[in-house]
Symmetry: C2
Subunit: 214 residues, 2 copies
DNA sequence: TCTATGTTGGACGCACCAGTCCAATTAAGG
DNA sequence: CCTTAATTGGACTGGTGCGTCCAACATAGA
């Protein structure tokens, strides 16, 4: 009775949600079989329908759960920008690397992939994710940039635009190098991606007079 | 006998290819019915199988055709960078706007969407598109940047990285504002996106001494 | 121990869809 | 005009997968 056998109902719900997102994220909504999901969750198919009633409801629930996880992970990555002290370049490289880690995470890619793939059938997923995750992360980043600009450590007038461009500088090159998430990126690769993005970002928005580093 | 009725065999093949990509791009490969494709092409289902034999072959053929169109459109957009004369900022804004037009095109979004969505079933699509389109466009852009750098009009050492970052600055903000291609962007929106990207790009890589504009 | 609720495996109905087949029609080319 | 090849509509098959049902089983709480 280590842990494998039936431990309780609530655990099964979790297991089903995780398995559903894993399978659907891997094979797509249409291709994902409920039988496969049930098997991967270690659960009978009837149990799946007991909990969620519908393949569509199951998909929505699992997607929402993962989007939630992605959001909290991203916000946690931004947390290092809370204190305005320390070397600016190091600070930005650190937050950049953390954001890229979130961005390159398997789950994060699956969310974006499903968002694009199933948007025809489930247009509301985009509302949830965009206004609940993307916009929220962007606003938080913009707030941090605004504080840094006010403190004279960044030279910019539109913090929201700067936040958009910062993420663009981060993710653009990485999208290509990972071939849209199909190829892993090493730890050094992540660090390099963050460093290059911050390099350019600071060349554009760094304090005008003296750069933090020669 | 204006044009609607059967005009020839070769036209039907085109019509089938276009209809196939339209339907599959809209509904996804699994959801797209061959009957629907045939109807949209104004053709009997048997004709589809006469030409392509297989739903999978039909998909590959239609995808390849569209990828080809996307590639030529992108390369055409880069053509304006051929002459190194003229105001640098105007030049870059022009090419940026053209690239964004390509990027925001319905077909271009459909290609990227299918690339992500069906990558599980068709991993080779990514090879074709990545090495045949994305890499080719990036290399061309990097070549132009290298020439501009050599002419002292850009201040950069790694043209390939600059090309990655230029496209990141262009597409990152636009991805968000169009909600991943689900919402149209006005002509002014495109121009603004290009202008902002070029602003930041030139702040980072513009000629060090004197900016082209105050 | 008894009971209620959740779980299991498996079988089943049902709908949908890729791909085939065929007889009738149409267009192309010599 | 005649032959050849392509097209058409429609019926048909086989396979797959969602969702249901049910009888037996496990578990938690009284």
């Amino acid at each position: 009775m280590e842990a494998t056998a039936a431990r309780g109902r609530i655990d099964k719900r979790r297991a089903i949600l995780d398995a559903a997102f894993a399978v659907i994220g891997r094979e797509g909504y249409a291709q994902a079989g409920v039988d496969v999901i049930a098997a991967e969750a270690g659960v009978a198919k009837a149990t799946v329908y007991n909990h969620f009633g519908d393949k569509e409801a199951l998909f929505r629930a699992s997607f929402a759960a993962q989007a939630e996880r992605v959001l909290t992970a991203n916000l946690a990555a931004l947390e290092v920008l809370a204190d305005t002290g320390g070397d600016l370049r190091d600070l930005l490289e650190d937050v950049g690397r953390r954001l890229l880690e979130c961005y390159c995470d398997e789950r994060s890619w699956a969310v974006r992939r499903l968002l694009l793939a199933e948007h025809g059938q489930f247009p509301d997923l985009l509302d949830v994710t965009q206004s609940g995750v993307a916009d929220r992360v962007l606003q938080t980043l913009a707030d941090r940039f605004a504080r840094l600009a006010l403190a004279g450590r960044l030279n910019l007038t539109d913090p929201e635009l700067a936040a958009e461009q910062f993420t663009g500088l981060l993710t653009g090159p990485v999208d290509r190098r990972t071939r849209f998430g199909t190829r892993p990126l090493s730890e050094d690769g992540l660090r390099a991606g963050a460093r290059e993005a911050v390099d350019t970002f600071l060349r554009a928005f760094g304090p005008s007079g003296a750069p933090d580093r020669p």
